[in-house]
Subunit: 339 residues, 2 copies
């Protein structure tokens, strides 16, 4: 079920890796991980249980790595970036806990979702707890600018969720409307994670704008490739199964394109399956078949490639060093996951 | 100085034309043109002189054609679309008059700018007059939704101009920041022009969203190609000369990409030429040479192609008829101008 993606001219296929970034921030990241474990602690034993269920489930921790790398690239020598990175990961974890409740998801990163083990109420409240802990760590760092950027991201993310609730189940969603949703739901946190790096390092407008742009466009590319993989990856890559989005009735870009490009019969299929949630045997295969016919997965990845190119240019002015090379490779890595 | 652009797979080169759209809306457009002439009239003789200088200078009137075509595609049979189309063109004309004052431009569409003939004050005030006339025509049509969309566009355009004033002359502008400017300055009016078509026809949310998305993305593609042509077209195509943006110190996407991808020496060049306005003999050629080195013009067109693809998908759900085919061809026409 792999998706064949045309290669960019002169680019080697499948060569991009996340490991150079992991290696560069490893020392800092170990302290982020310790902080995450300690700040998820509570005398209320259910809190660390629920939090650690997700925290220890093997996410790549891409977002906090962005914060660490951006701070280091900005010449930062202090300690604040570790707390900001942990805050970013907590914001992400809180979002996942709440998302699974809203989407009624059963699985997350290849394990039962927290809400399936401890229930919806615990998932909502532990998410709130982590968000509170995230803000406490930000306040500890003492940068009002960083607090502003992350608090804004928190409300934009929530706004994006509500936008999606409102747009959800409407097959007439346009690509622009869907992009507005993922710009808020996914890209806003990538953007904030990257921007707080130069902020904590005391850098000015242009460095902040460059990292914000890098984060935003990487986030968009990342989410679009995720959307594509959901109709053509293997569950090992994703920590979820092919077709999860389909079964949950999520309207993502491959669906938007297939619907808009489809025949009347195609559209009736999508309305039945995603708007009314009537999904039967063989429907996922039919959905994937329609996507193939309309090149919806390829073009979703093509759109991701556009945002990846913008992300790369955002970092172009920085001196060529290991951090920059690693962050550029992350862009390619996010897109090449589609292979 | 032509730019060589890689072709999209399976697309014939240079085949796209604007004429099918022109032919389809011709009867309506004649009435728009009459209305434009009559509403630009005034007992204050300077008003029609200034207005007609620009009105009769051979613009393509793409925006009002979008309104007409979108209304017809939405099954509209009334008269309101003619007034809305004239309003859209007046809004555009007013913007051009004001722009030339703000940018201190000498030429517009191959003729001296109105401000060079009648002065800045007359240009500002006649722009205001046309904007007032535009709103009067919209009120005549009586659709509050159309008024809302066009009034919002008017303030977004002004916001975009101010944004550009603030961002102008800063070489550290990111691609995202530049896109935000042209989204407001150019794409907002394309978007409103297209959206009022389904509105006046009484169509619902999804048709409005589709035309809005088509207009927005066509506008973005159009502006980016314009930006590219300014560094590589012939003045016959543009009604302005190659290098106008450069001489006026405008920071457009080809410049943003060249600057960000450039060496320290390149950046010093751009800062001198565009931030400080110190432009000497041979500087335009050097600027174009740097753009070639960094593939800045090709990639600007590549970005335009992305937005063009989104515009095409916005219209995909509509039945295949002459109007849809003509509007899709306009997307390709806007991009193929780059040849």
């Amino acid at each position: 079920m792999g998706v064949v993606v045309p290669l960019e001219e002169g680019k080697k296929r499948g060569g991009a890796r996340i490991e150079p970034l992991v290696a560069l921030v490893q020392a800092d990241m170990e302290r982020v991980n310790e902080l995450i474990l300690s700040k998820a602690g509570s005398d209320v034993s259910m809190i660390p249980e629920v939090a650690n269920h997700l925290i220890s489930s093997g996410g790549k921790r891409l977002r906090p790595m962005l914060t660490l790398a951006a701070a280091r690239m900005s010449g930062y020598r202090g300690e604040g970036h570790v707390k900001l990175a942990a805050s970013v990961e907590f914001m992400h974890t809180a979002t996942l806990l709440h998302d699974d409740v809203v989407d009624e998801s059963d699985m997350r990163r290849g394990k039962p979702a927290a809400r399936k083990v401890w229930g919806n109420q615990a998932s909502v409240l532990v998410g709130d707890f982590l968000l509170g802990q995230a803000f406490k760590m930000m306040v500890d760092v003492g940068s009002l600018d960083a607090l502003d950027v992350l608090a804004t991201a928190a409300s934009v993310i929530a706004e994006g969720e509500v936008m999606q609730l409102a747009a959800a189940k409407s097959m007439t969603t346009t690509e622009d409307e869907y992009l507005a949703v993922i710009r808020a739901k996914t890209a806003a946190l990538f953007s904030a994670a990257a921007e707080v790096g130069p902020i904590v390092a005391g850098k000015g407008r242009s460095e902040r704008a460059a990292f914000r742009s890098y984060g935003t466009n990487l986030g968009l590319a990342f989410q679009l490739v995720d959307d594509a993989l959901d109709y053509g990856g293997s569950s090992a890559d994703l920590g979820k199964n092919v077709g999860d989005d389909f079964r949950e009735g999520k309207i993502t870009l491959p669906v938007v394109l297939s619907y808009r490009r489809g025949s009347d019969a195609d559209r009736a299929f999508w309305q039945r399956a995603l708007e009314r949630g009537e999904i039967g045997e063989g429907d996922l295969e039919q959905a994937i078949g329609m996507m193939r016919t309309h090149r919806a997965i390829e073009d979703t990845i093509e759109r991701a490639r556009h945002f990846g190119a913008v992300a790369r240019d955002a970092l172009a002015p920085f001196p060529d060093d290991g951090f920059k090379a690693a962050l550029l490779e992350v862009v390619d890595f996010c897109i090449e996951r589609a292979h």
